[in-house]
Symmetry: C2
Subunit: 195 residues, 2 copies
DNA sequence: GGGATGACAGATTTCAATATCTGTCATCCC
DNA sequence: GGGATGACAGATATTGAAATCTGTCATCCC
């Protein structure tokens, strides 16, 4: 069992590969097992269902895609600048992935949509990063103090949905997209600012 | 030909009825012709294609759904109040339709998505209504003067997408939806306000 | 003449038979 | 013992033949 031990991580990697090659509609557990040279029963020893395996792949992908954001949220710059940088990093990462490999991006959009709980957890994480920035901005007197930081974070997240929700990905390559994004961030920052 | 003359309007009405009953996936031109008691060739005398007929139905539905908005845009109240009322009317109309008859709403969501030009034209109309309100607000000194009204209107429209884009319809019945909407409108209005 | 018709070709959809997949579990083998 | 296996039942997907639909047009009929 020594060097040939099949790890959960290996299965996730194989599943990611199969999804990349076949797409979400065609990728099967049997494909994953075949890629690993084991029977599909073995995969079910590590994951209770196909959905759970796909959820694990999705979770890892979402975490990696937004790995740079926590550092921005807790950075040393002023909160308003950090908020702008954070939103730009989120939009930039999504846009780059969507344009670099549209098929793969579409695959992960489907995966994220199908495992709602993974997505919800991810979005909650992002919103709490935003909330940290906003709370510090309120403490510094840069942002208006009326309003709970987490609620404001959710509102800011909703207001910028067009620039991070995958359903809008086709619009991110429009000529005016980056200009519109900058203007929207400007509006949001003026909305948050202390009077 | 006197009283039995088949009008374009009658065909649109029959098509609307067929779409309501069968849904966008099943409704056919033959169904529409059958409902009118004519051959399907006759329908093609009035519309160049199935897509054009469906586009006509969509156009009429969109116009009727938002018939109340122009009056609000040109109303007598202050621009900031009008902006809030206009956005509330838009969200309210969509939400009511989505909750009253989800199937019909889904049908029209599909129709709107499939005939992009009709939708684009409709959105342009809505944005120009917003632009009128914003321009007046700038003239009155209520809104900041930096920024072209039409661009600002587009940004406001994008910022509130979550509360009018049909893809988000499932979220409109969430308990927090109305509260979030009010908070978002508040943020947008503060963002537009003159300092 | 001008609008309605229905036969037609090619494209699309439906349907049922067939194949594959998901998830379980008794069995195997190191 | 503990992990891997593969046969199995029910669910889902694929496939190809048959049916229907879209769009055209020569013809009909008021």
């Amino acid at each position: 069992m020594a060097e040939t031990a099949l790890t959960t991580e290996q299965i996730i990697e194989a599943a990611e590969d199969v999804l990349r090659r076949f797409g979400p509609a065609k990728a099967t557990v049997v494909d994953v097992a075949r890629a690993l040279g084991v029977s599909h029963g073995t995969v079910y020893r590590h994951f209770p269902s196909k959905a759970a395996l796909r959820a694990a792949v999705t979770r890892r992908w979402l975490d990696r895609a937004h790995a740079a954001l926590p550092a921005i949220a807790t950075g040393s710059q002023s909160p308003d600048r950090r908020l702008r940088l954070w939103l730009e990093a989120l939009y930039g990462a999504k846009k780059r992935k969507a344009l670099d490999d549209p098929e793969l991006f579409a695959t992960y959009s489907v995966l994220a949509a199908e495992s709602g709980s993974v997505l919800d957890e991810h979005l909650t994480t992002l919103e709490s990063q935003l909330a940290v920035i906003i709370a510090e901005g309120q403490d510094d007197g840069i942002f208006a103090r009326d309003g709970d930081p987490l609620t404001l974070a959710q509102i800011v997240f909703q207001a910028t949905a067009r620039f991070h929700d995958p359903v809008y990905a086709p619009l991110w390559s429009a000529p005016a997209a980056d200009r519109d994004f900058a203007a929207l961030v400007g509006l949001v920052l003026r909305g948050l600012a202390a009077r």
